[in-house]
């Protein structure tokens, strides 16, 4: 099977919120994770008090390495007095967050609209 060469995320803007949608259904490969991490870091570095919304609607699989990347981004966003929200996580993926107790670390919402409404 040919590897996808599409960008792993698509980024849009809604007022002052950067919305990042994962385009691949699997966030597994270290290379893929590193690329996503670099994109999210760039978005975090763009401005003071960044507001970042990550939409997981397309994600069916992710690895612990992806969780690690998200933790690093969460720390970067916090260092810049920003806000990070995760949205539209499928039940099987959400269970991974629960098992690792990362549902306590991240602000997770059932859909994009509720996540957007939660930004201060």
């Amino acid at each position: 099977m040919a590897e996808s060469i599409a960008a792993p995320v698509s980024v849009t803007q809604d007022k002052d919120i950067r919305i990042v949608e994962f385009t691949h259904n699997k966030i597994l490969d270290e290379g893929n994770i590193a690329e996503i991490g670099n994109t999210l870091k760039s978005l975090t570095d763009e401005r003071a008090n960044p507001k970042l919304l990550l939409d997981f609607a397309n994600v069916d699989h992710l690895s612990s390495a992806a969780l690690g990347m998200l933790i690093n981004i969460n720390n970067l966003v916090r260092q810049k007095n920003g806000q990070l929200r995760l949205a539209s996580i499928k039940p099987q993926i959400f269970e991974v967050f629960v098992i690792t107790k990362l549902n306590k670390l991240f602000r997770i919402f059932p859909n994009r609209e509720e996540a957007k409404a939660s930004f201060m």
Binding site: M1, L28, D29, E30, G31, H61, S63, S64, A65, L67, G68, M69, I71, N72, N74, N75, Q92, E95, V96, I99, T100, K101, L102, K104, L105
Partner: protein, 158 residues
């Protein structure tokens, strides 16, 4: 793996029937991401053919991913000269895996619990927790170089 020592015994599940378990064996280099993907694809195809439900397939996929990455990264330090040996025995009732690296081994008790508050914001250390949460039986032998894990066919996380 590919072009290396891939061996298969084609006993097959018979699409969920009562045939002998299918045994798949692979040997891949630690830096061979493409080979790792192919191994996972072959194994998951067999899991699907044996009729495991979506929740069980998800559990197997995740545990396999974590085990293979652990072997490559922590076991073999991504040393291309070191191999990962993978054996999968898939039947309609259970999926059983052995993943062995060629590294120095480790002690399970030395890996901290990533759920503790002091570890929650660390970016690594969750692989074993996920393997042990999603598989029914997990054993470490050969000084930690060999992982044996089993998923019984049923729903949910254990």
């Amino acid at each position: 793996m590919v072009g290396g020592g891939s061996k298969e015994q084609c006993n097959g599940c018979g699409g969920g029937g009562t045939g002998s378990p299918k045994v798949l064996q692979f040997e891949i280099a630690s830096d061979a991401n493409a080979d790792m993907r192919k191994v996972k694809q072959q194994i998951m195809a067999e899991v699907k053919r044996c009729g495991f439900c979506e929740d069980d397939a998800f559990a197997i996929h995740l545990a396999l991913e974590e085990a293979m990455i652990n072997a490559a990264k922590h076991g073999n330090n991504f040393d291309p000269s070191k191999k990962i040996h993978i054996a999968a025995k898939i039947s309609p009732s259970a999926a059983e895996f052995t993943i062995e690296d060629e590294g120095g081994g480790f002690s399970r008790s030395c890996v901290p619990d990533p759920r503790l508050e002091e570890n929650l914001e660390k970016s690594s250390g969750r692989g074993l927790l996920l393997i042990e949460s999603y598989m029914n039986r997990v054993e470490y032998t050969c000084g930690g170089r060999k992982l044996h894990m089993v998923k019984q066919r049923e729903n949910g996380v254990h």
